[in-house]
Symmetry: C2
Subunit: 404 residues, 2 copies
């Protein structure tokens, strides 16, 4: 996407979304883990909406239309399930208020002020290169029904008009940063990440990633503060790890390190150049609850109604299927790999990755131990405060906006 | 798209939009005629918006966001030019009111009530199978900038929430009906269109098409009456012909007849079956100003601010390039042909069509004669009336809606 002066500022993350279509390596067929996250968070979402969403109190909702966005929706089917869940929760609350005029909710919002039926408009947002064609062609029937729109562009910038969303939701997407931190790929920098693709074993690299995540979240929350109506909700689910835990203590980071070592193996065998590996990094970051809370509070436009962590999968009893795990990762990053190294290495790389995991099962040790597990999902229910109570001017330079 | 009970009701037109991508037979590279329509209508659109669009008077626009839809946008570049033109006209009017507090417009809308800057959200709408990926990837820089959304679904039904659009625009799309009239393909019907693909030489078939167009426009205007805000504009451009003219008197209809005869030639040579030709018809209809006006008035929710006709191309001085003309038609209907006859006949069919036009240049005679030309484009600027002044209940069964 570009702004009015025509400048294209395409960062790494902008151009390579999840694999499209519905083939064997597509995201739509390899997002079972994300599906578990959706399933596990279902009751949390329902409860958060029921407890915190004031349908009728929003000053910009004089009509009976509720606008919802899924930020980083990819191609389904997970986004469709999440959206249905959100819609049903809103409808449940609406009906409860209408049917129980003596309920505490009805005292606050007298039923005569409420429209009889709600209309829903759902905005599916992801990077411009996301496979929106497949998304639209696979839309399932929904109850309640909704009007559909696809919104191309990075959620690190503005993608919606001012005060136009009542509920903005994002699941398993915020850990994708807008780009790899610059200093990590600069050959002369003390934080040059030579021979590795992530921050697993280097505190300085980790700091550089953390700083980039902070910049991204500043953009994200500033944009959402403008787009979400006062009193509207921002429901976020993202992978994270315990406060103070080192990256090398989590299974996710160790897996990324193994993946990087497969690339280095291939470089040593002359299949790709070592320079190529040195200049490649994963733009993934797993925050901690404390860091994330600080970022929300630094923005200041949202009140944290609830923040909790959960583990979406059962504690492991046996080792996972390594081939499935490798294919799952492939669905997410094949575009990146192909762009950087060429498509010819893809098959072998992910086969090697599955093998490497089988040879290094220690990376999964933590996931067997309920007492010791250091990684989880963070769920946050944020409510847009009334008025411009936040920190910083929201009406910043529109050049930053994700306008066409 | 399907509604809440999961029933799929896919009519012929729903599944086959213009050719996607940007290949040699794509709509994006074969829509020069539609581009001429956009160019020729530019000043009409600007004037219509300047004269009729009350930015600040709309009861549902307490924010500074203007929502615009292009209904039947296809894949560009024409839609981008049209949208830019509409946005610039709105911004021009807005600035004029702000800068000239003594102007008649400013007396009606005092400048202090107006927001300083406008935000625009543009909804690109077309059939679900439209190539939205190409549309999004080819979005050009725009001034003024706008937020982008793609909306899949037929404009013959609801595709937007209630009172959510300030300007709905449609160019060169309304002549595509939602389907071929049923009675035209029924073997036992007196209106079975055996051996032909359009209504060119048969008054009964023409009546059946006219009745289908009426049903489609009832759906179209009923949906728009709900979606366009009170005081909002519906700007329509569609091909038409003079009141009372027979289909066989227009070049467009004669061209369709030639196209049908190519299919029959191929059937006679055994390349396709005659039954296949008998069951194939073009779901295109060219209305007349009088008929179109009656359909708008039958709906009753829109006031006709302006209705005029124009010829977007210069009167012919020499015969057109037949190969180009055939390719242009191919970009629009290849999907239909492939579905019905298979892709293997496509090359030969359109080559034959170009040859057939070269052998029957009489079909272009009218286009050389400024005095006698019977076909043109119809431009209509309609304003949504205030209140429910129209005919019929707008809040009809939501089963008809183009909900997901």
């Amino acid at each position: 996407m570009s702004n009015s002066n025509g400048k294209k500022t395409m960062a790494v993350g902008e151009s390579y979304p999840m694999n499209g279509g519905d083939g064997p390596y597509s995201y739509s067929r390899n997002s079972i883990y994300q599906r578990e996250v959706v399933d596990a968070s279902k009751s949390m979402i329902t409860e958060a909406i029921f407890d915190n969403f004031d349908i009728e109190n929003s000053p910009s909702n004089r009509l009976n239309t509720i606008r919802i966005a899924d930020l980083g929706c990819s191609v389904g089917p997970n986004t469709f399930m999440s959206v249905q869940n959100i819609l049903q929760a809103i409808e449940l609350k609406h009906k409860t208020i209408q049917q129980n005029p003596t309920s505490p909710e009805s005292q606050i919002h007298p039923p005569q002020a409420q429209p009889q039926t709600l209309e829903f408009q759902v905005f599916f947002n992801d990077l411009t290169a996301n496979d929106f064609n497949t998304l639209f062609m696979t839309l399932p029937p929904s109850s309640p029904p909704y009007f559909v729109a696809g919104v191309p562009g990075s959620f690190h910038h503005r993608v919606f008009p001012e005060a136009s969303l009542h509920v903005a939701y994002s699941s398993y997407a915020l850990h994708w940063m807008s780009r790899v931190p610059e200093e990590v790929v600069e050959r002369d920098s003390p934080t040059w990440n030579k021979g590795r693709v992530h921050y697993t074993h280097n505190a300085k690299i980790f700091e550089a990633y953390s700083a980039q995540f902070k910049r991204d979240m500043e953009g994200f929350f500033r944009a959402r503060a403008q787009e979400v109506v006062e009193g509207g909700l921002l429901l976020l689910i993202l992978p994270g790890c315990q406060d103070g835990v080192l990256p090398c203590e989590t299974s996710a980071s160790l897996q990324h390190d193994l993946f990087g070592s497969c690339l280095m193996d291939m470089a040593k065998m002359g299949m790709i150049s070592e320079e190529k590996v040195d200049s490649f990094n994963l733009h993934l970051y797993h925050t901690s609850p404390m860091e994330f809370r600080e970022l929300i509070e630094a923005n200041g436009y949202f009140h944290i109604e609830k923040m909790e962590t959960f583990i979406p999968f059962p504690i492991l009893k046996e080792l996972p299927n390594f081939h499935e795990l490798a294919t799952h990762f492939r669905a997410a990053i094949e575009g990146l790999i192909t762009e950087h190294f060429g498509s010819e290495i893809v098959e072998e790389l992910f086969e090697r990755y599955a093998e490497k995991m089988a040879q290094n099962t220690y990376v999964f040790d933590d996931l067997f131990d309920a007492q010791n597990i250091k990684e989880f999902m963070i769920f946050a229910c944020l409510k847009r405060k009334v008025g411009d109570e936040g920190n910083g001017d929201l009406h910043f330079n529109s050049e930053e906006n994700q306008f066409c």
